[in-house]
């Protein structure tokens, strides 16, 4: 039986604010899984904490709604435990680029075969509107009443530097492009980052749907853009006057699982552990 959109519907209903960008992302995730015909029970979505991370409860797959900032380590472990699964880690900008920044850089170095979605609305939603690591300089919020002093984090440039092998940016306002990007990210063999621009209709009055429509342009509109060219990708990542969306970069590199001597053709969860023989290691101590 083909996999259909309704297979991913949950009984529970989302409690995001009306008009939240998370709805667009939820639809794109479901549609991408349908397009790829991946059965729900073979998907694990591992999220951190924040509005973004509630996605786990509203896409009907296996879900691990983990700790704030810690979606990546358990997601990597789930993939290692059972490489047959499609593993999607899901975070927000505070979750993934703030408290979880260390894991972000190190996980990209590893090139684990998984997809990382970061809902990037440049503000903390669930804690009521504080500035985020991706908030622009000068952004005023309850925690920065006189404006943010730091430079914003540039996730695309960081991902390039850290060695991610698939790097893209989508927008919650463009579900068609976003669906396509997520499909490509899941199909990609290796670590795929999808930074997803989205408005926070309640707290962020600057980076709105209108703002993104005015400031974004698609990389695929440039016929000369070559996503296998690292230099071109870095140039686009550092662009400040406009915001490029689409696939910045893709590279073919062996995955961590392929190179790890602990991994075999049998998934770790399928190994027979009922009676393991340890006489050899004991012999070594005689």
């Amino acid at each position: 039986m083909p996999v259909e959109l309704k297979d991913f519907n949950t009984v529970a209903r989302p409690d995001w604010c009306p008009g939240c960008g998370d709805f667009g992302i939820q639809v794109a995730v479901k549609q991408a899984l349908v397009n790829l015909q991946i059965e729900p029970h073979n998907v694990a979505i591992v999220a951190g904490i924040g509005c973004s991370s509630k996605l786990t409860h509203w896409v009907d797959t296996y879900g691990l709604h983990a700790l704030h900032g810690r979606s990546l380590p358990p997601a990597v472990a789930v993939k290692f435990a059972n490489p047959k699964l499609t593993v999607i880690a899901d975070s927000g900008d505070g979750d993934g680029y703030g408290i979880g920044m260390g894991h972000f850089i190190h996980t990209m170095r590893r090139n684990v075969d998984m997809t990382y979605l970061v809902h990037d609305n440049m503000v903390y939603g669930l804690t009521k509107g504080q500035a985020a690591p991706t908030s622009q300089k000068g952004y005023k919020s309850p925690s920065t009443p006189f404006g943010v002093i730091e430079q914003p984090v540039n996730p695309i440039a960081l991902a390039l530097a850290a060695g991610a092998t698939f790097i893209a940016r989508g927008s919650a306002g463009d579900a068609i492009q976003l669906t396509k990007i997520i499909e490509e990210a899941i199909k990609h063999k290796g670590f795929a980052l999808v930074d997803i621009l989205q408005p926070c209709v309640t707290f962020n009055k600057i980076n709105t749907y209108a703002y993104f429509m005015q400031n974004c342009y698609k990389l695929e509109s440039d016929p000369n853009y070559d996503p296998t060219n690292f230099g071109m990708a870095m140039e686009k990542a550092l662009q400040t006057d406009k915001i490029p969306t689409g696939i910045f970069y893709r590279a073919d590199r062996p995955t961590y699982e392929e190179e790890d001597p602990g991994h075999t053709s049998v998934a770790a969860v399928d190994l027979d552990i009922s009676n393991i023989d340890i006489s050899n290691p004991m012999q070594k101590y005689l």
């Binding site: 949950t10 009984v11 529970a12 059965e39 729900p40 029970h41 073979n42 998907v43 694990a44 591992v46 904490i49 509630k54 786990t56 409860h57 009907d60 797959t61 296996y62 879900g63 691990l64 709604h65 983990a66 700790l67 810690r70 990546l72 380590p73 358990p74 997601a75 990597v76 472990a77 789930v78 290692f80 435990a81 059972n82 047959k84 699964l85 260390g102 894991h103 190190h106 790890d260 001597p261 602990g262 991994h263 075999t264 049998v266 770790a268 969860v269 190994l271 552990i273 009922s274 009676n275 393991i276 340890i278 050899n280 290691p281 004991m282 101590y285 005689l286």
Partner: protein
């Protein structure tokens, strides 16, 4: 002649093979049917600084090192400065006369001196200073008349990988060191006056079972290997790093995914992820790293994920003494992480317990679907001891309520564990708090696991009724564990000598259970946990020799805590002494909290160095001097 009971120490600068020489000495004892216990002291640096390794060898089980040395091998001057005073009357010292000028040292009276040109022999015969430790060990073999062939055999095994030349150099170095002592100290050694024979001798014991020489961490890792641990995430931290190293070394042969993570936060979060996905997973760390794992420990508790975490304690607070020992994290580990959730906390007290309890830890993690914490410490983790090979027969892997695809389908046909909407209830309320568990990839078992409070399906809810029931559900699991996990009991010691052949090698220190009704018969009851156990057992034998009956209550499980049984035992005992390696008597505090029973006498140590039996013995004497009728000499 003093046969087959020797405390030997090698000391020198870090980086000169002090620990490998110690290991070879202990292993040589094991190969000759003798038994050994060895422990190393070293500072937190790579080269230089003072390293020492003390090995106690006997023809019976050796529980712990002694503070007094029978024979000291000093590779540098500092070793003499620090340890000469520890040598017993009639003991000896071998030192390198090429690096230590004899006139610069003052030898205590009654200590026999054997100056040997270790460096010269190493360079001339061993083709390099690097063989100096081999020369020294062989010189000691000559003094104690131990079989040089055993040393040759070990050197061949150890250096075989490095090529024939390396083996030949070490063999030549060993032979020359041995010969030097034989030729130059025919009549014995002396500090002043006439030379005297060195009386301590080691002799092979026949018909002994082959014994392993391993560390507590080795034993623990073998337990994990046997239990089917297939995922290890860890960040290096002394004294737990050898767990990471062991598992990494066996990754290929045993298909274990071993990840050296970016930090301990990632390590514990990974272990939760792996456990959730259905793989037996473990992390190891020490107190500082455990501090970083604390939030994710609660993640495991809230999502009811099986996992095993080893905390190999070292002295804190903060960085503390990185390479020394303490039992300072008991209360921390019992309470770590916000909120209330069930956890199993166990503390092995010896090498066998490191193996068997770790094996059991993985079963318990799955049976109760919650984190299991193993408390070890540097002394237990890094000391070596001869033990018989672990008996793995009868060790059964129990995965608790983990469903197979078939089992899930059966459950689904019975409509159990399903909501009216056909969703699997991963967190269904049950009589014992444990629910059936599915893992990603199973068709029909989809659910969410959330760190937020959740309902029976795992979806978020904040209703009062659900919250209260979920708190109770999780707590129920610990009640189940309390019933299923064995309660502690008293033991006393008894030496059993099977003297058919007249060899002392068949003498065994038996641990005899003491029933509750006999609890009042003992003059002294030691209450302890973890690594002081073996020293306490030795003290009990020393006391028996003085006519004082002593028994021990070792608490292995701190959570769940057998309050009722422990309360009954303590109220039946006469004079109790709490023995712990910390300053706050953390076990005694736990006992008070759980039973209302206050243990008045305490022997505590927090210098970063492990108790010896004599230390506990002496302090016991002080405590009981006026309290019991028997006089202890």
């Amino acid at each position: 002649m003093k046969l087959n009971d020797l405390t030997w120490m090698i000391g020198g600068e870090a980086g000169f093979g002090i620990q490998s020489a110690g290991h070879i000495f202990a292993l040589a004892a094991a190969r000759g049917g003798l038994q050994a216990f060895g422990t190393a002291e070293y500072p937190s640096l790579i080269r230089g600084g003072h390293n020492s390794d003390v090995i106690r060898v006997a023809d019976r089980e050796v529980m712990v090192h002694k503070e007094r040395l029978d024979l000291l091998l000093a590779m540098n001057k500092e070793t003499l400065d620090l340890h000469l005073k520890e040598i017993v009357q009639g003991g000896g010292v071998v030192f390198d006369m090429d690096v230590i000028k004899p006139e610069t040292i003052k030898i205590p009276e009654g200590v026999k001196v054997f100056a040997v040109p270790l460096k010269k022999i190493a360079i001339e015969k061993g083709k390099g200073d690097i063989t100096r430790n081999t020369v020294g060990v062989a010189a000691c073999f000559a003094l104690v008349d131990y079989d040089l062939e055993i040393l040759f055999e070990l050197l061949r095994e150890m250096f075989g990988r490095k090529g024939e030349q390396m083996v030949a150099n070490n063999l030549a170095a060993a032979q020359a060191g041995y010969d030097y002592v034989r030729e130059n100290y025919k009549d014995g050694g002396h500090a002043a006056g006439a030379p005297e024979k060195f009386e301590y001798k080691l002799q092979k014991v026949e018909d002994q079972p082959k014994r392993m020489l391993l560390t507590g961490n080795d034993a623990l890792c073998l337990g994990a290997l046997k239990a089917g641990c297939k995922f290890v995430a860890e960040y290096p931290m002394t004294p737990s790093s050898s767990i990471l190293h062991f598992m990494a070394a066996h990754a290929k042969d045993y298909n274990i995914i071993v990840k050296h993570t970016e930090d301990e936060i990632a390590a514990m979060n990974m272990v939760v992820g792996a456990g959730w996905a259905g793989v037996r997973a473990m992390t190891g760390t020490s107190g500082g790293g455990f501090s970083l794992m604390v939030e994710a420990l609660g993640f495991g508790g809230m999502c009811e994920v099986p996992l095993v975490c080893v905390n190999v304690q070292r002295p804190g607070p903060s960085t503390g003494l990185p390479t020394r020992t303490e039992q300072c994290d008991l209360q921390f580990v019992l309470h770590a992480s916000q909120g209330e959730f069930p956890r199993i906390v166990m503390a092995p007290g010896d090498f066998e317990e490191c193996f068997y309890l770790t094996f059991e830890a993985f079963n318990q993690a799955e049976r109760y679907q919650t984190p299991v914490l193993i408390l070890s410490d540097k002394h237990l983790a890094e000391s070596v001891k001869t033990v018989e090979q672990f008996n793995t027969e009868g060790l059964k892997v129990d995965r608790g309520k983990l469903l197979s695809q078939k089992g899930l389908e059966e459950l689904r046909t019975k409509k159990e564990y399903l909501t009216p909407d056909d969703n699997f209830m991963r967190y269904k309320f049950t009589d014992d708090g444990v629910s059936y568990r599915t893992i990603p990839g199973m068709k029909g078992g989809i659910h969410r696991s959330a760190t937020d409070e959740h309902d029976e399906t795992g979806d978020l809810t904040e209703t009062e009724e659900n919250r209260s029931r979920m708190v109770e559900k999780r707590a129920l699991k610990l009640q189940k564990a309390l019933v299923e996990i064995p309660a502690p009991h008293l033991i006393r010691v008894e030496r059993e000598i099977n003297d058919d052949k007249g060899t002392a090698g068949s003498s065994v220190l038996k641990r005899v259970p003491v029933s509750l009704k006999d609890a009042s018969k003992a003059d002294i009851t030691f209450v302890t946990w973890g690594s002081p156990k073996d020293a306490v057992l030795e003290v009990m034998e020393m006391l028996e020799a003085e006519g004082v009956h002593a028994q021990m209550l070792q608490i292995v499980y701190m959570s769940p805590f057998h309050s009722k049984e422990i309360n009954e035992i303590l109220r039946a005992c006469k004079l109790m002494i709490d023995v712990e390696m910390n300053s706050e008597a953390q076990l005694a505090a736990l006992i008070s909290e759980k039973t209302g029973f206050f243990i008045p006498h305490k022997i505590l140590k927090y210098s970063g160095r492990q108790f010896t039996a004599h230390e506990i013995f002496d302090r016991t004497k002080e405590i009981v001097a006026d309290l019991i009728d028997v006089k202890i000499n």
